[in-house]
Symmetry: C2
């Protein structure tokens, strides 16, 4: 397909300056009639469209995908969603789509914001991030007939692979399975797990990979839990390590996030065992800086998968609902980044 | 000002369902004529505008600000720009503006991309990030009469406060001045600096704050340099600490970035001096996790300032050039986040 004509093309064909074309479009009264006619003829000849807005009205396509951007809350793992948005922007740009980001602090506020964007015809599709158990957003989008894909599977359903909508997600259980197997082979049989309180979602999925691997091997090791955050994880594990022989009885610790892994590492070091192998999840810059092994989610693959599901091979947004075939999903297999030297902050 | 009418309002006034209104707008042939007339009357009565595209054509305002989003390159400091984009999205949303993000790997590619967005009428204003010495983007935007503000001052000019465009930036020299004064009072007179090779920009500005503070105090301490990055900084400082008494002759080290500060901390620890006070710049999650003091840039204040400059107190995008008064600028004073316990990774 040829590139759409530009103001420069019109100026060249009409034999006038770019500014004159702009004047004809915006302030025709200041342009001489003969010049105005030349420019108008060039515009007609080239089928030049001065504003995307005109194109949008004609095609009902804004070529824009809406993505929610959380408020920045600091912490270690926030970078993951940002990597996804960066990658989505690049991949979308290659397909001629724009990314429009909006903020919202709750699912309700997000639906209100999306309602405005949809009513305004400002977006053609939505990428939903951070799905959770009981998430109202996906059903709401479906009821609005808005094409969307979620980064995050529908949690809590009987069979997520027969989901009513398309999704792309990272196989958290596969990630902790790989991490647990590695820890068993490299450190010993007593591989514990440090997780979040049960959330019916991401945290439970990651814990499952550890639990199943240990069960299959006929092994038992303790499972600890703490809220997310380096400081709280460090304090929790410091208390736990102070009681009995917990620390001495651990060969390694697989953790649900890098924040928990760093906290556990610091607690172990405080308790005199700097060498306790800990494995995090998210492969953040902090894990990299500290030499802590971690599961890499590959948000770049997730972004590419989201666009594949949303736009299909032809590159135009496809309505994903209402077809007879079940919507598709993509489950990205994460990789374990092994840092065999272990935490090397001394 | 009243909220613009929605599809729901039209449906209510016409006494029909939301879907019927949608049908009238999109597939009027399937709606009975009497119903169609009721809906059309309600649309007229409420002055309902079905698409933002129509509004855009009428007002020539897309209510959208374009912002460049770099490819994710990993590393420690990448989070800073993301914090800025998060804050910009929130603040813009409060003012009824959208943020459209685009990718580009070079300034040339960015101007090409912006040209498309401007020609398409898809953006009303631009926030330019990451200005550098000889940056062609700002002059190009000015030549296109596109309202813009840069995060980053124009580097290399005789007097940046008489800049040809508005900008908001962080006062890097003020940040390192505060850091150096704190190090002098808390650690001792021999406060060194670890910087990047001279770049005619951000790095030189931050170094100036250290140099001027030392000069004013009549003190001399060494200045080291390395490319950005934790590993290269650590290797460089390890070599330097291996020669002579460099490490023993330092009371503290002010660093141009957190990556360099963490690298220097690890090198000092390797050389047996874990307690060397280092101060970073950017207050990243890594510095926070390691308990390393750092200069906080407050990208949230930068984002608020950028919108103030771009939109003015009335909240509409103002053309910033061509007025008689000199364009404005905002220089945000950074804060030193002191972590007096020092790097506490053990």
């Amino acid at each position: 397909m040829a590139k759409p004509p530009t103001v420069e093309d019109v100026a060249r064909v009409a034999g006038v300056s770019r500014q004159t074309v702009s004047n004809v479009l915006n302030s025709p009264e200041i342009v001489r009639e003969s010049t105005r006619e030349r420019v108008t003829a060039a515009i007609t000849q080239l089928a030049y469209r001065p504003h995307a807005a005109a194109r949008q009205l004609r095609t009902r396509r804004s070529s824009t995908i809406g993505v929610h951007l959380d408020p920045y809350t600091g912490g270690i793992s926030g970078v993951l969603l940002d990597r996804f948005v960066h990658a989505l922007t690049e991949r979308a740009s290659e397909r001629g789509m724009r990314i429009l980001i909006y903020s919202a602090r709750t699912a309700e506020e997000e639906m209100e914001r999306l309602g405005d964007l949809i009513d305004g015809g400002e977006i053609d599709a939505v990428v939903v991030t951070g799905t959770f158990f009981g998430d109202p957003r996906t059903g709401w989008l479906a009821s609005r007939d808005m094409p969307f894909v979620s980064f995050g599977r529908p949690w809590g359903g009987d069979d997520v692979f027969r989901s009513p909508h398309t999704w792309v997600d990272v196989d958290g259980a596969a990630g902790t399975r790989t991490a647990t197997r590695y820890a068993l082979s490299a450190a010993g049989p007593r591989v514990g797990f440090l997780g979040w309180p049960s959330d019916g979602g991401t945290g439970d999925d990651r814990e499952r990979g550890w639990r199943e691997t240990m069960n299959e091997a006929g092994l038992i090791a303790p499972r600890f839990e703490t809220a997310d955050g380096l400081a709280i994880a460090r304090a929790t594990m410091t208390s736990i390590f102070a009681e009995g022989d917990t620390l001495a009885e651990l060969d390694a610790l697989v953790c649900v996030s890098d924040a928990l892994a760093v906290g556990a590492h610091l607690a172990a070091a405080d308790a005199g065992r700097r060498s306790l192998p800990v494995i995090g999840f998210d492969n953040t810059p902090v894990a990299e800086a500290l030499g802590i092994s971690s599961v890499e989610q590959s948000p770049e693959l997730v972004a590419a998968g989201a666009l594949d599901l949303l736009m299909g091979p032809t590159g135009t947004v496809v309505a994903l609902r209402g077809s007879d075939s079940a919507p598709e999903h993509i489950l990205v297999e994460p990789r374990l980044i092994i840092r065999p030297e272990g935490p090397d902050v001394s």
